[in-house]
């Protein structure tokens, strides 16, 4: 087990290196630092001196990959690529490209907690709601409830999450004035601000997941052990909860777990719509401000989380299914 985790960790590290190389290629080769300097300084007439100054301030004034002027190891270490890669791997994110040049690491650390406050309840409630809804449909399978439930699912998954947000905000914040339209407050007050985004996010994903989990449950229900359980005379709820649910958990864990990386990143759209100052809103601000330093850092964190999540999912498998042995 430990052996396995170490091996996966090593592979994950290799992937991180790949991601780093890829993002660097994307951010520094498609458009040179000069282009970015011009974009950030703005204005029509940008002198070469201004560009050089901007680059020096941010440490972009070295050659990108190979430094021909230096000798020995410095040929590779005295470059932008080396600097950026080493600092990213050490989780030092530096300062943003924008004029204010805020500390990215600090921003991420403070915003992370806000995102988690939205994401953790959402993640847990999402599983509960989707599994519950799917179980309900399975319990009434081959009946009208099942049929119309699936129809509702298909309808719900055909509606863009943006529609849920706009209608939800309109109904609950403007018409009934139950919750504030947007914003955030620390502590217990946060509940007032978070309840609507959580409910709407639940709804927007309920259709797709409910239908998927229902299909997974039905797959399990066709198996022999379920027939045996019924033949023993167990009641239907007992069959569902004691026999089918634990067995269907394996595919459900994969499906729900693949959403985990986004849990930490926060839901981009929901955070920015509801003015919650989490990581998702940070990304959207960075995109609209064309701040590549922030984007690069978040891409790196995102893939770090993704890799971590998949190791976690593998471990979770052994926990729900004792037959699985990691080797």
């Amino acid at each position: 087990m430990l052996n396995y985790v170490i091996r996966r960790g090593f592979y994950g590290f290799l992937i991180l290196l790949g991601v780093n190389l890829f993002t660097f290629l994307l951010f520094f080769t498609v458009n040179t630092p000069d282009d970015m300097a011009r974009l950030n300084i703005g204005g029509k007439r940008v002198t070469q001196e201004q560009i050089e100054k901007w680059k020096t301030e941010r440490g972009y004034d070295k050659p990108l990959y190979v430094n021909d002027k230096a000798s020995g190891v410095e040929r590779i270490t005295d470059t932008v690529f080396w600097d950026r890669s080493v600092s990213l791997l050490a989780l030092k994110f530096g300062r943003s490209d924008a004029r204010s040049a805020t500390d990215i690491g600090h921003e991420i650390r403070t915003r992370m907690w806000v995102s988690l406050q939205l994401a953790v309840p959402l993640f847990l409630l999402q599983i509960i709601a989707s599994v519950g809804f799917a179980l309900l449909l399975v319990f009434f399978k081959n009946s009208r409830i099942d049929f119309w439930g699936v129809v509702a699912c298909v309808l719900m998954l055909s509606i863009s999450s943006l529609f849920y947000i706009i209608v939800g905000q309109f109904l609950f914040s403007r018409m009934f004035r139950l919750v504030p339209i947007s914003g955030f407050a620390p502590g217990l007050d946060a509940v007032r601000f978070l309840i609507l985004p959580v409910i709407l996010s639940l709804l927007s994903r309920l259709g797709g997941e409910g239908r998927l989990y229902r299909a997974m449950f039905l797959e399990e229900i066709g198996r022999d052990y379920v027939r045996t359980a019924r033949a023993k005379g167990l009641s239907e709820p007992r069959v569902l909860f004691r026999h089918v649910l634990p067995n269907a958990l394996i595919p459900i864990i994969t499906s729900a777990g693949s959403y985990l990386p986004y849990v930490f990143l926060g839901s981009l759209v929901f955070e920015s719509f509801f003015g919650i100052p989490g990581l998702g809103a940070y990304v959207i601000d960075a995109i609209s401000g064309q701040d590549f330093a922030i984007l690069r850092s978040i891409v790196f964190i995102g893939s770090l989380l993704y890799i971590g999540t998949y190791i976690l999912i593998d471990i979770a498998y052994t926990w729900v299914d004792p037959r699985v042995r990691l080797s």
Binding site: T23, V30, N142, V154, L162, Q169, I221, G222
Partner: protein, 489 residues
Amino acid sequence: MPKIVFLWSDVVVMLLVAALLVYGWRIHRSPNLRASWLKVFRDPPAMCSAVILLVFLGVAVVDSVHFRRALQNAAGAGAQQAQAYGTRTESLLDVILATQVDGRETTYSAPLATRAFTKDSREVNGRTERIFPRLEHGGAHLKDDAAEWAGDVAARALLGLAAGLLVGLAIVSAVAAVVARVNGWTWRQAWHQLLHNHTDLPLRAGLTTVLALCAVFGPVFALATQYHVFGTDRTGNDVLYQAFKSIRTAFVIGSLSTVATLPLAVALGILAGYFKGWIDEVIQYLYTTLSSVPNVLLIAACVLMMQVFIDTHPDLFETGAERADVRLFLLCVILGLTGWATLCRLLRAETMKLRELDYVQAATAFGVSSWRIMLRHIFPNVVHLIIITTVLDFSALILYEAVLSYVGVGVDPSMNSFGGMINLARNEMSRDPVVWWSFAAAFSFMVALVLAANLFADGVRDAFDPRARSFRPRRNPLGRLARVDRSSR
């Protein structure tokens, strides 16, 4: 003589339609394919959604023929002067909806309204008053709009409904005639069989959809000649027109992006599954690396980079429409290049399974080369997976476009798209009184398109991969017990 403009995405749309026709011909020729597709269309929801998708596809194709109008040469200029063309790139759809394009108001107006949505200072009987002014185009033919409006709208709607139903009935009769001819029935028999749903394909469901579409669009078009059916937006543009224009954007994104994933996904997936060993390792590493970057971020980064490139090279594009189109095209390519991992993984697993089968082993034993085996023996047997994924991704990408546009990395703001409409609608919904019509138009068009695409995809999945997990409710409880499937592991 107008100058026909071939935008990049136009060419792609035409190529895709051509590819669909070629594929249709292949279906016609090959009994296996025909059986599979007949199975798709035997499913009533798939049949109905196919009708709707066909209508949307028609709109998208009509909107993909672009041209620039020839300008009148200045008087006195010689014949040798080069013909000048307008700067606006128009499409055939713009010509069809010319009343909507030209009937521009100054600002918001409600659906079917005759007066503006906001008050304005106008001179009435020599005094300046704050009134709701009459619209320039919406209901301009009415003298006394307050008294005549209801009657006029009702009359037009009814007339449109009648005309629509007439067209619908004509289509139904045509289908009935074809059915009668193919089966050697009399005209009356054919009608009877259609009405009682005794035809091989669920034609009754399909034709009901046709009639419903006619019943909806008849009144809409009848009213659109004099009114703004879905109102106008902040700059006075007709919302119905925008919704129609958005269909093409959605179609291009949905289809082009999935097609763009195919080359990499298919080639790498089959290679990895067939050769195993280090090739497999490298390809696995590639797609794991790619998929470990959160998708939205990856796309955002690529799109921003592309935007910087477009901004720094403004001389490459002749008109604004061209620039917007290149951006749409590149967005699709980016979506394709970042989205191939899932299909690749799927194809790799399937190829690994296939290469151990007897017929592939036999081919190897006969000395058939690896490339030939992959091309002739493996590829045709994974095509069903490719088709299913393509159809499934179509609707997902249309939904994704809206989110990307909201994030600010979607299509060009000057291009009509559902995402752009929703984005504007967000501010309109927080106005007081509420401007709801843009939102309603985007919602109804988008749900119709995505729902149809989803239902069609379900039909395709069930027909092409009967062993896969089925999502739909079944009336026959025994159907479930027969299937034992461990593909999820």
